[in-house]
Amino acid sequence: MSGSAATPTSGPQEGTAFASTQWSLVLETRSDSANRRTALEGLCRAYWLPIYGYLRRRGHAPPDAEDLTQGFFLYLLEGDFLDRPDPAKGRFRGYLIGALKHFLAGESRHASAQKRGGGAQFIDWASLDAEREFLAQDQSQQDPSAAYETSWALTVMSNALRRLEAEQAAAGRARQFGVLKGYLSTTPTRGEYDDAALALGTTRATVAVWIFRLNRRYAELVRLEVAASLQDPAEVKNEMRHLLQALRG
């Protein structure tokens, strides 16, 4: 199982891992529309990890957490839950955790039925190393809700990063990206500029420009990813501040 997550471009989730669909689109489309289901599926596939993490923090064992995640998404997609009025609807992040809590409250009653999920496999667990990704993020001192927020923020970052890598690869800069991606999180030191310049056969100044551009593009993609999870684009800055807080926390 290990390794598949490290090369996301080759995984079966390719293309659906990015929040290329908009939460606002889901809300605006009629409930019986096939478009809505497709859009919502895209979003759910992109944000399975915070749900899984929340469930694990609540004490569910990995197989149970997988089943519940699966069942929750089916509940969302097939029920009329989405059409009920909900003040948290403006943000996909808030909406999803609210819906999950609602789902879990009813779960004890419908446990067996929901657990099987009608047999449909919405998330392809076989291609994911869910537990490994959970552990990579997990902070044992966090309560389930705080863990959900941190995981959500990191998932946003991760989705944007996958998109950046795909873009770079498409532009024929996979090698550059491989050498330089580390500098998305830290500024190179003297020796590192020299090493990178040597490895890529260019000058220090050019390395500096590439890193600069990579950082800028990544920031843009993060903003797009955040915007995709909101009903009102004007809320982007607030949501970004929230995520910044979650990451620092």
Partner: protein, 879 residues
């Protein structure tokens, strides 16, 4: 299943990365990305302080102010450029740092002040300056870091196609138009200052390089910084003060030329050789070096490279518009220099170069004329290109075989050959050669006519132009611009020869024609309006001149802007007219304002500024405020010598005016030295017969008379009179003036009979041309009367004066002039034995003259008082 996450050295937590290689920490990357977008500062938001690690290689400063130095990008004489990072904004910048050496406080202050100005500029094609300051012993400014290299590199590696470079420079010109509108001149345009951001040009280094240097010889500064080859001729001559939007345009023209031809116009010349080349030589024809150059693009390029700033595009926007027209495939506005202009240029070179230079220069010149003329002819209408090219070839052959070839190897033994001689030979050889080829004959005649005009040979000029006009009317129709150009040249000759009523009719007709044909705001229309106003001025129709000129100025200010050289020139002329209308204070104020505008928009050493200085000094002179006039003329002379050259007409005019002021101030030695120099230069650079040469000769003759050098005065005056009789005719006012002056000199010499002849001749001319009431006619009357009295012809004097006095009472009642005439009449009567009547006339009027002696021009005052004293004494003794 073990956690794959490693620990981030920065936040000391799990890297949280599914990409668990390459040192990426998703948390830190996320914080950074969010902070960039939230425009937070990046570094302080990280949880763990990072140890200071220098990113700079050894030998470079680690930090300059708030910037981390990453690499050195370049190094020049004045500055070093670093690639640097501003951690707080996670921004990459190019950091330009004033090169080391002991800090020069004043220099640094100026550098920083200049940056403040430039930092205001915000334009997509200008590299933005973000910040400047002084820190860690460096004076620096930070600007956008542009990665794509610069145009210099591009020209070396992969020269762009003509259309590409046109598109690139159109954008650059628009950026400069914006900067100029903001009052910022680039001053140091060259390919390495046009950075390339992909295909987009981004202008860098505004105003800075030149500003660092404290004025003075730009050629040498450029030689230190890089190359002087992009400097405009006026900047090479006039130093940094002569830099203007027009010099930026010239530099862009050089860049266009270089991009097309692969070399700058005078590549290979050293900094020391360049000034001479810029003032005498034309760049090699572009299409010889780069035959693929589109003709229109060559025309656009040449327009920018005009030696005279006023002949370039009026602004960067016009230049950009013409490039856009070229790119869109529509007709451009720039006109290839007409054959006439080409030849004028040849003539200009000829005057100074022909006498001294070798045949090689002329062979080269001939080559230039050939290629450009061919290009010119064919551009006009592609359809007729072949036919016109054939005609052009015939024209060029004529010019080469009959004109230029005369200065070829076999004529080398005659280094003093004059343009006039060459023209005369060419003229004679036209004969009947071009019968049946009007399209060849017309341009040749025009060229010869225009060139003869430029050397002041009006009668023969007129012959050629009249023939050209007949042909042009048949060929192109009466109101085609080519026909009108010849027509206008002929009308100008009428002005130059002071055939004023005819000139007025002609200029008036042309003004109306231009207005109807091109509209009231067209430059050609406004130029004819100014010409017409000048004719009104010469005619003494000052009111009409003022009205027309004010309307013209209003249009020029609206169409070209208040500071356009045309506008400023028209304002100068209006100043002259106001002066002549006696509104001296108003004229002074008006021209003072004109001068301020000229200084502000064109610079202290622009030709128009120098002309304006001279005309303001003229007004002060009329106000007898020589103490104000002299410093202005001193400045005009100095700036002119430096910026335009000691032989430039504007410089010579200023020197001439200063000489005249010295003369009036009776600083005769200084006047003689200066005017002698002007005369010598005009004789050499113009023709001996040129009106301006003659004017200076007249002043020098007057000076000689004043210094008692009568033979020299008589000799000079006789020569001038001969020329004017020949060129202007006997009744011309200028001819009359010199005839009159010659009479005075002869009288001083004691040759009274000869003097009388001259004075009578002048009087007759003035009566006919100016009428009996004109002040010059009345002056002639007094002169003749005095002369006759001296010769003992009292009866003739009486008759003359009795006839003239009613006119004098009409035109100059109660003045010293009329009093003097009455005094003369009295003296005549005394001689004729009618003493009491005569005595009373003499006594009363002598008293009047003495009372008004302050109003007599200083120069003649003593003489007149002596004359009056003699009459009074004679009347007394007859008692």
């Amino acid at each position: 299943m073990s956690p794959a996450a490693s620990t981030c050295p920065r936040c000391r937590r799990s890297t949280h990365s599914p990409f668990g290689v390459g040192g990426l920490c998703l948390r830190c990357a996320g914080v950074r990305a969010l902070a960039i977008d939230l425009e937070d500062s990046v570094e302080p938001s990280l949880d763990v302080p990072v140890p200071e690690v220098s990113a700079a290689p050894a030998g470079l400063p680690a930090r300059i102010g708030p910037y981390e130095v990453i690499d050195e990008l370049g190094r020049g004489g004045m500055a070093r450029v670093f690639c640097a990072r501003q951690p707080r904004l996670d921004r990459l910048v190019a950091l330009k740092v004033l090169a080391g050496g002991p800090a020069n406080e004043a220099l640094e202050q100026r550098f920083l002040r200049e940056i403040q100005t430039v930092a205001r500029l915000r334009h997509p094609h200008i590299v933005a300056i973000h910040d400047s300051g002084r820190a860690d012993g460096y004076v620096y400014f930070a600007m956008d870091y542009i990665e794509g290299g610069d145009l210099a590199h591009r020209l070396r590696e992969q020269p762009p196609a003509p259309r590409e470079i046109a598109a690139l420079l159109e954008k650059t010109a628009r950026a400069l138009a914006y900067a100029h509108a903001e009052g910022v001149i680039h001053r140091d345009l060259k390919p390495s200052n046009i950075l390339l951001d992909g295909e987009e040009p981004r202008l860098a280094d505004f105003g800075l390089a030149a500003q660092i240097e404290a004025g003075g010889d730009l050629t040498m500064v450029s030689a230190i910084i890089g190359t002087p080859h992009y400097l405009a001729p006026e900047a090479v001559r006039g130093g940094s003060a002569a830099l203007s939007p027009a010099s930026d345009q010239y530099a862009l023209g050089v860049i266009l030329y270089e991009a097309l031809a692969g070399r700058t116009p005078f590549a290979g010349a050293s900094a020391a050789e360049l000034p001479a080349l810029l003032s005498h030589a034309e760049p090699p024809a572009l299409r010889l070096l780069a035959p693929a150059t589109p003709r229109d693009l060559e025309t656009i390029c040449l327009q920018c490279l005009e030696r005279e700033p006023t002949r370039r595009y009026r602004g960067m926007a016009e230049f950009a518009d013409d490039l856009a027209r070229f790119l869109a495939g529509v007709e451009i506005v720039a006109r290839p220099p007409g054959l006439g202009e080409r030849f004028r240029r040849f003539a200009r070179r000829h005057r100074t170069a022909l006498a001294a230079t070798s045949a090689a220069t002329l062979t080269l010149t001939a080559g230039i004329v050939t290629s450009t003329t061919l290009a010119v002819r064919a551009t006009r209408a592609e359809k007729r290109a072949a036919r016109e090219a054939a005609a052009a070839t015939a024209v060029v052959n004529f010019l080469q075989d009959d004109l230029l070839a005369q200065a070829g190897p076999e004529q080398q033994s005659d280094p003093d050959i004059r343009l006039r001689t060459v023209l005369d030979r060419a003229s004679r050889s036209i004969g009947q050669r071009f019968v049946g080829q009007p399209d060849v004959e017309a341009p040749i005649r025009e060229v010869l006519g225009v060139t003869y005009t430029s050397v002041g040979q009006y009668p023969v000029a007129r012959e050629h132009l009249e023939r050209a006009l007949v042909l042009a009317r048949q060929l192109y129709g009466p109101d085609d611009f080519r026909t009108l150009r010849i027509d206008n040249e002929l009308a100008s000759i009428l002005v130059y020869t002071r055939k004023l009523p005819e000139a007025e009719a002609a200029k008036h007709r042309l003004f109306q024609l231009h207005r109807d044909r091109f509209g009231p705001d067209h430059r050609a229309t406004l130029n004819t309006a100014s010409d017409l106003a000048a004719v009104y001025n010469y005619q003494g129709k000052l009111k009409e001149a003022e009205t027309l000129l004010r309307e013209t100025i209003a249009r020029e200010e609206r169409v070209f802007g208040p500071n356009d050289p045309s506008t400023v020139n028209s304002r100068s002329i209006l100043g002259v007219i106001l002066t002549r209308r006696g509104r001296l204070q108003e004229a002074a104020a008006f021209v003072e304002e004109t001068l301020r505008r000229a200084r502000a928009s064109l610079g202290d050493t622009h030709e128009t500024t120098i002309v304006t200085l001279t005309s303001l000094a003229g007004i002060y002179g009329r106000l007898d405020q020589y103490h104000l006039a002299i410093p202005l003329l001193d400045e005009a002379c100095q700036s002119g010598r430096k910026a335009l050259g000691p032989e430039h007409p504007a410089t010579l005019n200023a020197m001439n005016s200063l000489g005249v002021v010295y003369f009036r101030e009776r600083r005769l030695d200084e006047a003689a030295a200066l005017l002698g120099q002007v005369l010598e230069t005009r004789r050499r650079t113009l023709e001996p017969d040129h009106p301006q040469t003659l004017n200076t000769s007249v002043t020098v003759a007057g000076l000689a008379r004043e210094r008692g050098q009568l033979d020299e005065a008589i000799q000079l005056a006789t020569k001038v009179r001969e020329v004017r009789l020949r060129l202007l005719g006997p009744t011309n006012a200028d001819t009359a003036r010199i005839t009159d002056f010659l009479g005075h000199c002869l009288a001083d010499r004691g040759k009274l009979q000869e003097a009388l002849l001259r004075h009578v001749e002048a009087l007759a001319a003035r009566r006919e041309k100016l009428g009996p009431e004109h002040f010059e006619t009345l002056e002639s009357v007094r002169t003749v009367a005095a002369c006759r009295l001296q010769l003992g012809e009292a009866a003739a004097a009486e008759a003359l004066l009795r006839e003239a006095l009613p006119h004098a009472d009409q035109a100059q009642p109660g003045t010293w002039q009329t009093a003097l005439a009455r005094c003369q009449l009295g003296a005549a009567l005394v001689r004729l034995g009618r003493a009491p009547e005569g005595r009373i006339l003499v006594q009363e009027n002598a008293a009047l003259v003495r009372k008004n002696q302050e109003k007599i021009p200083a120069l003649g005052r003593a003489r007149i008082l002596r004359e009056v004293g003699a009459y009074a004494a004679e009347a007394e003794s007859a008692r």
